[in-house]
Amino acid sequence: MSASLPPNRLFVFCVILICFGIGFIKASGYGTPEAFQVRPAMASGASEPRFQSRFASSAQHTQTHASSLIELKDGRIRAFWFAGSREGAKDVEIHSAIFDPARGQWGAEQTVASREGTQQSVLRYVSKLGNPVAGRAEDGTLWLYYVTVSMGGWAGSSITAMTSTDDGATWSPARRLVTSPFLNISTLVKGAPFLYSDGTMGLPVYHEFIGKFGELLRLDKTGAVIDKQRLSGGGDHALQPIFLVKNASEALVLMRYSGTDAPHRAISISTKDAGRHWTAPVKSPLSNPDSALSAVVLPDGRILAALNNMEQGRDALTLVISVDGGINWKTAYPLEDQLAARDQHLDEARYLKITEALAKDTDAKAASVPGEYVESAKRQVCTGHGCRFEFSYPYLIQTQSGDIHLVYTWNRSFIKHVQFNQAWLDQRLKDAK
């Protein structure tokens, strides 16, 4: 007796075979990276201590925030940040400018992404733009990832990506990354991307809808998301992870703490097997007032971090250093410190006077027209209840020349750039002893 299937049953069976055959072929193409890529050795930099500061952004009377940096192939540095009438407004754009270390000057501020341009590219409604970060793929392509929102607040964010093969002179159309099953909401970027040994890219991201937690995306060479790892649980209140690759297999991750339980400390996790397994999140010794932090691993293994090293407020920004892989930290240099002004319940006149002095101290250009800088800052940080200083969202990189560059939000009105070398850092540490 033959046991043949009716034609429609046979058809459905063939559909199963074909569909799953294709599915298994795709699934077998995913691999797990063996190691992190470690950056090639850098120059130690000039032996003379050097420290300079200036403003990277130039537009007046706008709100600027969330800056990031990347070194270009020719040694210049490109910064990205978002700017508009206020955070979350429809007119917010992603701006960029280039710093030429040889001339010690920032070029003109340009728009690299707008809300309208992004929505035409991704063929979806986009209501606002947010944090941008850039990464360099193994083939040299520059990738720009930035936050886009289609509905609601930042909890409704998703990530959009663009590429450039000419270091940011021109950009490809934007593409949306799909990273979450629930309407693709709540994935944001802040930390610098890094590479795995197989050429795939790790992109630290975070989630802030209902629970707040850090995540890690892995992207293949075409930019497709091929893996996603959770770095902390929803109850850990940890976000904005930054990855510090120590060697091919070890990395430390520091995250902003957004919880209310004291002590308010940055959250840390680590891996010893290139991210296959992670330690449970713990509170680090670094204080954190629910604010972003940034860090780099120096060629000698020390870790340098920039953060608001206090439990409340963003009116002081500090460089701290660890010589034992992130276990213990000590202050290297106070970059900004207006704690005293906070205690004095600052009125507008006093705020303007201090801000003028700070602007003059930052940049020679600002020294010639300090009033414009002060007015821009006043617009952003003064309310009917007084004024407050804000120095936040630091982003640190070390370039091939050995110099360290830091950008951060200066009173929500400008992006401040600080450049120094290891000789200056070592001098500060010697002075601190």
Partner: protein, 203 residues
């Protein structure tokens, strides 16, 4: 130039908009040619740019690309009145709704941060996950629950060929809209069954 995945994504939003029209009360009383005309008109209106942007793109901005399971159900919703098909196999429909409801209740709370395990990660090419889906599809096939078999198999196929922007298999199997629909249908069915049982006690 418009990408393939944008075309498929916009088409899925247009299908959702068209299907929404078919849910209007009294619509099934229209003649088949009128229904076909209405469906075509709504789909075209959804895809034609007004002010530089089609309605489907606004819907896509909010709901994302519809899962293949949603599309299977929407297409059945649209095509049934057009072709005068009889109501689908109730047992298969209920089993599919129950399966979607269980999967959604398992996926979304965990993916949104409950605990440390993220089932969404399995959708990035986990071989065990694909194998488990094959098993479910075969069990459904053996029980003649063809709508389940085809929904799962077509979702795996679409993921395999990169039909949408998403590279995650879950996004082809489930979306929040079909999940809400399935969970409410299961609840509705359970309440009805319970009431029927109680009436049985009284009489």
């Amino acid at each position: 130039m418009i990408q393939f995945t944008d075309m498929t994504g916009l088409a899925s939003s247009a299908a959702a908009i068209t299907a929404a029209v078919f849910l209007l009360p009294g619509i099934t009383r229209m003649s088949r040619p009128s229904l076909a005309l209405l469906a075509s008109a709504v789909a075209v209106v959804a895809l034609v740019p007004f002010g530089g942007f089609p309605l489907a793109a606004y819907v896509r901005g909010v709901i994302g690309d519809l899962s293949i399971t949603s599309l299977v159900m929407l297409i059945l919703t649209i095509l049934r009145p057009l072709f005068g098909w009889s109501p689908s196999n109730t047992k298969a429909k209920l089993a599919l709704q129950a399966l979607i409801a269980v999967a959604a209740i398992g996926l979304y709370p965990l993916a949104l941060g409950l605990g440390y395990f993220d089932p969404y990660r399995l959708g990035f090419g986990n071989l065990w996950f694909v194998s488990a889906l094959l098993l479910v599809a075969l069990v459904a096939y053996s029980r003649r629950l063809t709508v389940i078999t085809l929904s799962i198999a077509l979702a795996v196929f679409a993921w395999g060929i990169g039909w949408y922007e998403s590279n995650n298999l879950w996004d082809y199997l489930l979306d929040p809209l079909v999940s809400i629909y399935a969970i409410s249908a299961v609840i509705r069915h359970s309440v009805r069954a319970l009431l029927k049982q109680r009436r049985g006690y009284f009489y």
